[in-house]
């Protein structure tokens, strides 16, 4: 199948930095520069920068934008003020997860949604189909680039003041204008910088000049897995629901939104399966799709650079999802032991020394 991969405004810079480029969700993206492990450690210990311009930006505007989104998104937008963002889910009629995303409250009548690259078109179509008079949905992804700067020293390196998580504001970094949001996908302090596509190269150069280590999608995946942030398409899908996935905290079950009845019912009855986090006891690396002998399967698995062990997320029967339960994973025909752990798998306090 012949497909043309999309490139972000930073493509040439990635190639010049020696990145290994791979196809991802229709884009040609850097999976690593120096290596997944050093990049992962840079983010845990200092500061790393990721090009996440492949992600989609959808704008919802109008006097009834709030009403539209309140009916489509699981979390309660009444809980956030202007200048605040919220992690939320786009759900279908069966309570399945169409996407997980962050909603930014730009003004009373204006929201920005930053969505997964692979779901950009589907989300846009879904929102358009449900549009009501007084709400206008636009896909503005092509106008913007997004750079995530993450790690304990990220704010200091960018010369930014401390700010509460999930707050955002217009600002400048070395005179480049951008929207600075205290959000991310690594479990570390950090920001995501939404910048006009034509300014992206300049901003990326400034961020690296300030000491951020360029990091690829490989480290992005191991970082999010260590802190148990689900990946849409793996751990959460249109066939899985938020309650089973442990995302009940994102669902305002006291308001009306698509699929809420189903989610209320699952919550009441208790889910049959739960998404649990596990750490390998035996030497082995779990991978997506591996069968678990107690029931269920691995939805994300990799090597944890901080724990130096195999780790993963898996749907298992609810009875097997409690921390300390032993699981047996079929690793290409070999039975390997793992143990369910409390989320997140990695916490800063666990660090050696």
């Amino acid at each position: 199948m012949e497909t043309t991969l999309l490139r972000t405004p930073l493509y040439e810079r990635h190639v010049a930095l020696g990145a290994r480029m791979v196809p991802f969700a229709g884009w040609e993206m850097p999976v690593q520069y120096e290596g997944v492990i050093p990049e992962h450690r840079a983010v845990r210990n200092d500061c790393g920068a990721f090009d996440v311009s492949h992600m989609g930006e959808l704008e919802v505007e109008g006097p009834r934008a709030h009403e539209l989104l309140q009916g489509l998104l699981a979390n309660d937008l009444d809980r956030i003020e202007l200048g605040q963002a919220q992690y939320t889910l786009l759900t279908n009629e069966r309570g399945g997860i169409l996407d997980d995303l962050i909603a930014y409250r730009l003004s009373e009548f204006h929201y920005l949604l930053i969505v997964n690259a692979s779901n950009r078109e589907g989300d846009f179509r879904w929102l358009k189909e449900h549009e009501i008079p007084g709400s206008d949905v636009r896909d503005i992804s092509d106008e913007y680039a997004l750079i995530a700067v993450q790690g304990p020293n990220s704010l200091e390196r960018l010369g930014l003041e401390q700010a509460p998580a999930f707050s955002f504001a217009e600002g400048t970094i070395d005179a480049v204008e951008c929207m600075i949001a205290r959000t991310g996908y690594t479990g570390e302090v950090g920001v995501e910088l939404l910048v006009m596509a034509e300014d992206a190269g300049k901003l990326w150069d400034r961020v690296l000049a300030r000491g951020a280590v360029p990091c690829g999608l490989g480290a992005r995946d191991t970082l999010r897995l260590e802190v148990c942030y689900p990946l849409h398409g793996n751990d959460i899908t249109p066939e899985t629901d938020a309650i089973s996935a442990g995302l009940g905290w994102v669902c305002a079950l006291d308001k009306e939104f698509t699929g809420v009845e189903r989610l209320r019912a699952i919550k009441k009855a208790g889910p049959e399966q739960r998404l649990c986090a596990f750490v390998m006891e035996d030497r082995a690396i779990p991978r997506q799709g591996m069968r678990i002998l107690q029931g269920g399967e691995v939805t994300s698995g990799s090597h944890s650079p901080m724990l130096d062990r195999g780790i993963g997320l898996a749907y298992v029967p609810a009875a097997a999802a409690a921390p300390d339960t032993e699981l047996t994973i079929d690793v290409r025909g070999r039975e390997r032991r793992a143990r369910v752990v409390k989320k997140p798998i990695y916490k800063r306090d666990d660090k050696e020394g």
Binding site: Q32, V36, I37, G218, T222, R283, I285, R287, S302, H303
Partner: protein, 131 residues
């Protein structure tokens, strides 16, 4: 530190990017610089079981990086003598020294004539240039 690219002359090469070095009638197997570079930092080596026989061109173990799993192919047939425990405990040894400390297994060859089918360093270097 990852090793710089190299294809030494004292080993022979298999097209699946494995090497063999003959030492006093025994043979040592490993994966080439090209293979470890393609895979990235190695984080797991799944060795063969004790006393197993290895067949030329067949998998005898797996190496894994953060993102990928790869079979390790026997460049020649032989009976397993020893697994490199250092690589089991610290798989990154393969990245650091693919032809030295990062060897994988030691075997007794069962058909030394198979050696003829393998590439020398110059042939292998041309082969990887086309990959």
């Amino acid at each position: 530190m990852p090793a710089p690219e190299s294809y030494p002359n004292d080993v022979r090469y298999h097209r699946e990017h494995d090497w063999v070095r003959i030492e006093d009638g025994e043979a040592v197997f490993g994966i080439t610089w090209f293979a470890q570079d393609r895979l990235g930092e190695l984080v797991h080596f799944e060795p063969p079981g004790d006393g197993i026989s290895l067949s030329k061109d067949a998998s005898y173990g797996e190496v894994e990086s953060v993102k990928a799993v790869s079979d390790v192919i026997a460049p020649l047939s032989g009976d397993l003598l020893e697994v490199n425990q250092k690589v089991v405990d610290a798989p990154e040894t393969i990245n650091d020294d693919p032809y030295g400390e990062g060897w994988l297994v030691r075997v007794t060859l069962t058909d030394p004539t198979e050696l003829e089918a393998l590439m020398d360093a110059a042939e292998y270097e041309r082969f990887v240039a086309d990959q």
